[in-house]
């Protein structure tokens, strides 16, 4: 897999929350509160507001997500084409890591 394409690692400590945000937006636009609930359901941990918006601001700067018109004070975000590619690449990478780990466990 291309390491260059999967540049979520560039986000430092925000790379993991950013991955969750991308996954959360993969099935449609969501605002911050909906993302928080979705990520909590997905991972069992509620992301802090600072961490969530730290990830959102970085993803927005890289144009992997895009803001939609605000509904009152809540602004939904959607995944962009570039964001979808990055997410797909990261999931492929994780799939490969999972496969290697599982096979080593089976033979170990």
């Amino acid at each position: 897999m291309s390491r260059k394409l999967d540049s979520l690692n560039d986000l430092g400590r925000f790379s993991e929350p950013a991955l969750y945000v991308l996954i959360s937006l993969a099935d449609g636009p969501k605002h911050g509160y909906a993302m928080t609930q979705d990520i909590e359901q997905m991972t069992g941990q509620r992301p802090g507001p600072g961490t969530l918006y730290g990830a959102i601001s970085r993803l927005e700067a890289k144009e992997w997500i895009a803001p939609l018109p605000a509904d009152d004070r809540r602004r939904p975000y959607k995944l962009t084409g570039a964001g979808m590619k990055v997410l797909r690449a990261r999931l492929d990478s994780l799939k490969e890591v999972t496969r290697i780990g599982a096979s080593r466990l089976a033979t170990g």
Partner: protein, 226 residues
């Protein structure tokens, strides 16, 4: 609204202005809509520090109307340091005049030394008759020099908008110069210096709310990317 939510809202207001313009409404709505734990408060404090670092350590690019810009923040630090040293210089000059007045009044005697060490009541009225009531004026001047003067450029720079010019130094450099020189020459004065700069920073961050800009797009200033 509980205490944790109030603290969280204050922490949101302490984020950098560019971040606040873009995200404060959304994050405030999120904080108000869900229970806020101590972990969330710590998370917001950490986020604020991170966003200030992210905004402040960028290369200096002036965008008129968006303040405090890293360049202005750097100017704030340097001007504070310079005015602080100017204040100390003036204070020491006043002190030297006072010493000279004492020596002229009493000569180089033990009594002059007693006067200078402040062991005789009413001494200030005797040696500084022109400053009436001498001690009050002396204390007020001293307070202004040590606390007021350094704050003036801080407040001036904090309210300095639409500059539109480049500064040849970065925030990081200005912070290093200001702190290292103060720490080296006047370690005991660091709390005064730190308090003054902190006050200026709070002013400069726009913590005290201003009337929001009216009209379409007022709330859609683009985030300055790191």
């Amino acid at each position: 609204m509980d205490l944790a939510q109030r603290v969280a809202l204050v922490l949101i207001r302490l984020h950098p202005p560019a971040w606040r313009r873009r995200y404060a409404d959304e994050v405030s709505a999120l904080v108000e809509a869900s229970p806020v734990s101590v972990r969330s408060v710590v998370d917001l404090a950490r986020s604020g520090a991170g966003e200030w670092t992210r905004a402040g350590w960028r290369s200096v690019v002036i965008e008129p109307g968006q303040w405090p810009h890293p360049g202005r923040l750097a100017a704030l630090w340097v001007l504070t340091a310079l005015s602080y040293y100017a204040g100390i210089f003036i204070a020491q000059f006043v002190e030297a005049v006072y010493v000279a007045a004492v020596v002229l009044s009493y000569g180089m005697t033990d009594r002059a030394l007693d006067v200078l060490s402040g062991r005789i009541d009413g001494v200030y009225y005797n040696v500084l008759p022109s400053l009436t009531p001498g001690i009050v004026v002396y204390v007020l001047v001293g307070l202004f020099l040590y606390f007021g003067l350094p704050a003036l450029p801080v407040i001036a720079v904090a309210r300095w908008s639409g500059l539109g010019r480049h500064f040849p130094f970065s925030t990081r450099l200005a912070v290093m110069v200001a702190f290292s020189t103060t720490a080296f020459w006047l370690p005991s004065s660091m709390p005064v210096f730190g308090g003054t700069v902190l006050g200026g920073w709070v002013l400069a961050s726009g913590f005290f709310p201003r009337r929001p800009a009216a009209g379409p797009g007022a709330n859609s200033t683009p985030m300055v990317n790191a």
